[in-house]
Amino acid sequence: MKKICLYLMIAAGFTIKAGAQDDLLGDLVKEDAGKVKENFATATFKSTRIINFQSVEMTGKGNLQFMVSHHFPNLWTDGKGLGNLSQFFGFNSGVATTYLSFDYSPKDWMNLGFALTGNSQYETWAKFRLLRQQTGKRTIPVTVDYFALAHIDASEGPSPDDFTWNRFSFLHQLLIARKFNERFSLQLTPSLVHLNYVPFGINNTNNIFTMGLGGRYKLTHKTAVTFEYSHQFNGNKNLLDESASAVNYVPDLVSIGYDWDTGGHIFQFYLSSTTSSQNITQLSANTQDFTKGNFSLGFTINRSYSVKRVVQAH
């Protein structure tokens, strides 16, 4: 009997003590903090492009993104003198390469796109997220995407009588990015361009390897500066074009840009050593040499639409 009394006393003591703990919120916070979470690095870049090249970012699941970009002629062309001014640094020359694209993400890890790249050229792509930078449950230091693109030249030139197959070219890229902190992200982009058709020449090749480095630094929540550099390893040199004149492509591509997120649209303004708007030409057949100051202005506007509803009003 005494023992029972004692037990009950101890038990009663405990329940009273338990009753005295009244930091309910503290318990919830503790419980939440104790959960094993997956902390994904989000918004490594503002847009699905760093400047010219793809970033590891993808249009959100169930979202359709529409993108327009313009690449103007060179800012300043040697020998043109005041003509450069009258064309307002390329902006008002009347010629610009337009790139229009739609892309849609049926899954969190998959993005499919279609683009009109100007001059009767078309592209279609698929982008897959292989790894996501995260801490918590698992620790992965980088985000890795695989990007594959097919390009067709449907124009009358360069060789109208060629096999259709000759009009195709392909791009494979591995996008490896790390968000170092809230402001700074870097991306390494090894690429392979495969051209089904190349002009005659001594050093011509169907497969062109390049390595790209891109980054962004956030200035405010809404603005960021970006840069891109790409180097071609086995470049097209001393090639001959259809009319047997020599073509020398430039192996390097340099761009600097400014991102502006208005809340609904993302604007990207940039200076880039290319006048082409599509990746394959930029990587394999760029004619603008940045060491000669051949830079051109360009911009990209992004807008995404939610096609599939995730949130249901109850």
């Binding site: 038990a11 009663a12 009753g19 309910l24 919830l28 929540h221």
Partner: protein, 184 residues
């Protein structure tokens, strides 16, 4: 004598258990629609992962929702919500801590709809503000569900909405909370 002691101790124990009666839930649902035109739902978001505690004897309640559990239709909005407006890495949770007013434990024993209210503090984006609102309690069998609308003004909580977006948003965003507790 011993029997009396025993009886007293036992009653303390029982009372103690009752006193310590708390209910917990992980099924809290929170929905908000910041659109000025409330018939439009394009900026709406919801979280199905709110947790809550109810301490019956003292009528105390606490509610916690991790910001990153809010999901939007447009992934870009979700990114803005976390990166720019609510700074979810810095302020990971929104919480409410308060008391139910007019609540008695008898309500949980009988099916019905009860109109009570609550008073307490909302913490959001690093700012804590006093808050009071009517609460509807619906008891049905073994489930007691609390409904409450939290009206939140972004500027009260130092949330900066850019000028371009502001005209599309209502000055005060209603957050509908639905917190079901399983009684046992």
């Amino acid at each position: 004598m011993k029997k009396i002691t025993l009886a007293i101790l036992a009653s303390i124990l029982v009372f103690g258990f009752l006193h310590a009666q708390t209910y917990k839930t992980r099924d809290g649902y929170i929905f908000f629609n910041p659109n000025k035109d409330q018939t439009k739902k394009d900026y709406a978001a919801d979280s199905k992962e709110a947790t809550a505690v109810l301490k019956v004897e003292t009528s105390e309640v606490a509610l916690l929702v991790p910001m990153k559990t809010f999901h939007f239709n447009n992934a870009l909005l979700e990114e803005h919500f976390n990166e720019n407006y609510l700074e979810s890495n810095k302020f990971p949770n929104a919480t409410y801590k308060g008391k139910l007013i007019g609540f008695t434990k008898d309500m949980l024993a009988k099916d019905g709809v009860y109109n009570i209210s609550s008073e307490g503090q909302v913490s959001l984006h690093g700012v804590t503000k006093n808050f009071s609102a009517p609460v509807k309690l619906e008891v049905k069998g073994k489930t007691a569900t609390f409904y409450c609308v939290f009206r939140i003004k972004a500027e009260d909580y130092n949330i900066n909405i850019p000028g371009l977006v502001k005209p599309k948003l209502s000055d005060e965003t209603p957050l509908d909370a639905r917190i079901p507790f399983q009684l046992n």
